[in-house]
């Protein structure tokens, strides 16, 4: 068995629905979506115009699902979509689209272009036109359990460290816990502070939580590559674990697309609503804060800004929570221009950060973020997505910018009021 063009076209036909038909019908070719795409604004290359990235899908819609298009096809007046064309489109659909959703916010006729790119990737993946690196990551996620190839023992090792550092037990496989905590590969490998911070906050708040040995990984390469079949397999691990452990809520970690995969796509992939809730960690923390269970002491005097991860803010609706949490601990919080739902993407979402060949492009388009950060004049950037964090850190290094990037959860933990706990760590000590 192999991927093929016919499978890809078949997938295009499957995903085209009323919204997509309406979007393609409405496009007036005004080109304004380009102005909302950092891949266009930072390169000036017309091919990065969002609606242009959808051209093969549009043609399949026109040829299969419109009267005039079908007639054109019948009379061989229309150009069928070819493998060569999809090969040409691969970098447009994957390397230069982070599914950030900005174009969907500005399109004057209301086209949700991001919705369409996500659907288009189904056909790109099925026809064998997904980037190699994403195929490799997805293969690891399916066969090993994590796109970065992390297995449970690695998590166990981290749990040991955290327990040793904090003196707090990290609950594993605890049936009936309120919350099932997930992590992203990045957090397991690069940002171990997350688990430690969470343990301390939850201990203090008296939250009952657990990790699951067979469902610790929240990321979902299936979503990024755009294959629902694979995404379903990955998300089902979490659903099965959550149901087995009878948790009330699954917490998506500081990771953008993991939240989208679980919260918005999850039930649709599984074909049934979940019996548990799905929340982003910032939502949980803000709820704890509101309930008076998350007490902090002192303020961070460093000028801080917050980078809204696209999937958390614009496509996740978590915008006010990080600001409320930051207002508890930040003495000098500064918003970036365009902050909130119109924030510019880091340039590495939607799987782009996993595509090696896209790195020069990703660094090039980071200039827009660079400008935003520079406008605030801060030296410390807070965010709530491990992928944004690693992409931003790499780009900052590339541009020789001395700016520290911290996760919001770990920053909060630094100011946590803990009864009978070790002294508060120094605020200036960032990530090691």
């Amino acid at each position: 068995m192999t991927a093929s063009l016919s499978k890809g076209i078949n997938a295009f036909k499957e995903v085209i629905d009323a919204p997509i038909a309406s979007f393609f019908s409405s496009c007036v070719h005004c080109g304004l979506c380009a102005e909302a795409c950092l891949f266009y604004t930072e390169t000036g290359e017309a091919k990065y115009t969002p609606i242009h990235k959808l051209e093969p899908l549009r043609r399949v819609w026109q040829q299969e699902y419109t009267l005039l298009g079908s007639l054109g096809k019948l009379l061989s007046l229309s150009k069928p979509v070819t493998d060569e064309e999809l090969t040409e489109w691969e970098p447009l659909v994957y390397d230069s689209c982070t599914l950030c959703g900005c174009c969907s916010m500005v399109c004057p006729v209301g086209n949700d272009l991001t919705y369409m790119i996500r659907k288009m990737r189904e056909g790109m993946a099925a026809s064998g036109h997904a980037p190699e690196d994403l195929i490799a990551a997805t293969t690891r996620a399916i066969t090993i359990g994590s796109p970065m190839g992390i297995k449970w023992p690695a998590v166990q090792a981290q749990i040991k460290h955290v327990q040793a550092d904090t003196g707090i037990e990290v609950p594993v496989e605890r049936e009936g816990a309120d919350y099932l905590v997930l992590m992203s590969s990045m957090e397991i490998i690069n940002f171990p502070e997350y688990l430690s911070a969470l343990s301390r906050i939850f201990k203090q708040a008296g939250v009952s939580w657990t990790l699951a040995s067979d469902a610790f990984e929240a990321t979902n390469s299936g979503i990024q590559i755009g294959s629902s079949d694979l995404a379903r397999e990955i998300v089902s691990r979490i659903v099965v674990a959550a149901e087995r452990l009878k948790v009330k809520c699954v917490i998506s970690p500081e990771c953008g697309h993991a939240f989208t995969a679980l919260r918005w796509e999850g039930p649709n992939l599984m074909g049934r609503p979940f019996g548990f809730e799905v929340k982003h960690i910032l939502e949980v923390l803000d709820e704890l804060r509101a309930a008076g269970k998350l007490k902090t002491r002192g303020k961070d005097n460093r000028p801080l800004t917050y980078h809204d991860p696209c999937q958390i803010a614009r496509r996740g609706g978590v915008v006010e929570q990080p600001r409320r949490l930051l207002s508890e601990i930040a003495a000098d919080f500064r918003e970036m221009p365009d902050a909130g739902v119109m924030n510019w993407c880091c340039g590495g979402g939607g799987g782009v950060s996993a595509i090696t060949r896209a790195e020069p492009l990703r660094l090039q388009v980071f200039k827009i973020k660079k400008g935003q950060i520079e406008a605030t004049g801060v030296q410390t950037l807070v965010t709530a997505c491990a992928n944004c964090r690693i992409v931003i850190e790499e780009a900052l290094e590339h541009y020789h910018m001395k700016i520290e990037v911290v996760g919001l959860t770990e920053l909060l933990a630094q100011y946590l009021v803990e009864e009978n706990a070790s002294p508060i760590p120094s605020p200036v000590s960032g990530r090691g």
Partner: protein
């Protein structure tokens, strides 16, 4: 009014005739001034015109009436006496006009034949009414079909004036379904200059004005592409309408007896065809300059335009579809819906087939086999 016996006593030139009738040169000049204005000629032309007309020989005129209602004749007789328009008739020799002439039967036809013979190549032929081609028997005079009489009389004419919309364009007789196969003079006669003076009926002074022009210059006036004298038919009623400012301000009467109508607002919405009707009603007016239809509260019906009777309902605004109905649109929507159901069924089958053909994607199948 021609009396056959009078013909013999008439003087040779118009000037002599005027003197005989006690018309002063001053009065005549005044008349000529008003005619130059009417013909859009410079005022200085008035005395030249008076000179020309005075010296002109009495013009022989043959007036043929075919499928018509005599409205045109009625109209031309309304050139109020004792105005000079009336006298103009004394200036021409109206040799045949079966409504106005006293002679009848063979004597009448003889008058026509005599005039044709005496003035061969010089007489002016005036026609009112359309000509039926459906069956020669539909309209005959002295046993001669309209068509034959027209062809015969036109032969020796210097020029033809088609008076009234029927003669000029076919008019009401030609309106759908045109049972008599009515046509205009110009549809039959191709080798003579024809001046169309349309209107149902034409304005009296327009008719006399055209005659005066022919008398003065011995030629036909400048015509537009529909054969009408530009000096009378150069502008639309709408353009010269005294109610035009209301149109521009968007002030319209909604019914014939509402306050807006009483205020004299624009009648566009009540179906006025002024914007597409080329005629002089708004400037010369009728009944010695008393009024014209719009001034009297009724929209223009466009009676001087070709096929005006079939140009949409009289009381529907010009911008309104002539015959489209909401039922028509409802039917179209139903057809669209039926086609829509068909294409939806087709689309759903396509999509269902795609769903059936879906093979579960596995990680082993994310690349194409190298051929």
């Amino acid at each position: 009014m021609k009396q056959a016996e009078q013909l013999d006593n008439l003087p040779g030139t118009v000037g002599e005739g005027l003197t005989q009738r006690g018309i002063s040169r001053r009065e005549f000049l005044k008349f000529c001034s008003s005619l130059t204005a009417l013909l859009a000629l410079p005022p200085s032309m008035a005395s030249a015109m008076a000179e020309a007309i005075s010296k002109a020989r009495r013009q022989s005129v043959i007036w043929l009436s075919f499928q018509e209602c005599t409205g045109c004749t009625e109209s031309i007789t309304r050139s109020h006496s004792p105005t000079l328009e009336n006298l103009i008739f004394d200036l021409i020799s109206l040799d045949y006009h079966h409504t106005l002439q006293a002679a009848s039967a063979e004597a009448a036809e003889h008058a026509r034949e005599q005039a044709m013979k005496d003035n061969a190549g010089k007489y002016l032929l005036i026609v009112d009414g359309s000509v039926p081609l459906g069956n020669p028997g539909f309209s005959t005079i002295a046993g001669i079909s309209n068509h034959d009489m027209l062809v015969e009389t036109a032969k020796g004419a210097a020029a033809i004036v088609a008076v009234g919309t029927c003669a000029a364009y076919g008019g009401i007789p030609k309106a759908g379904p045109n049972p008599t196969g009515a046509v205009a003079v110009g549809d039959i006669i191709k080798d003579k200059p024809i001046i169309n003076v349309p209107g149902c009926p034409p304005i009296p002074v327009v008719m006399t004005g055209v005659l005066v022009h022919f008398l003065t210059f011995g030629s036909i006036p400048e015509l537009d592409e529909l054969g009408r004298p530009k000096s009378f038919y150069g502008e639309t009623i709408h353009d010269r309408c005294y109610r035009r400012p209301f149109y521009d301000q968007g002030k319209f009467a909604q019914s014939f007896d509402d306050e807006a109508a009483r205020q004299g607002w624009c009648l566009f919405k009540l179906g006025c065809k002024g914007p597409v009707t080329y005629n002089a009603c708004a400037t010369t007016k009728w009944n010695d300059g008393t009024s014209f239809p719009i001034q009297s509260g009724h929209g223009c019906i466009g009676c001087s335009e070709p096929n005006f009777w079939d140009a949409g309902p009289l009381y529907k605004a010009l911008s309104v579809p002539a015959s489209a109905t909401s039922e028509m649109l409802g039917a179209a929507a139903a057809v669209g819906a039926a086609a829509g159901v068909a294409i939806t069924w087709h689309n759903r089958s396509t999509k269902a087939a795609a769903n059936t053909a879906h093979e579960k994607v596995t990680v082993q199948e994310l690349t194409q086999e190298k051929k």
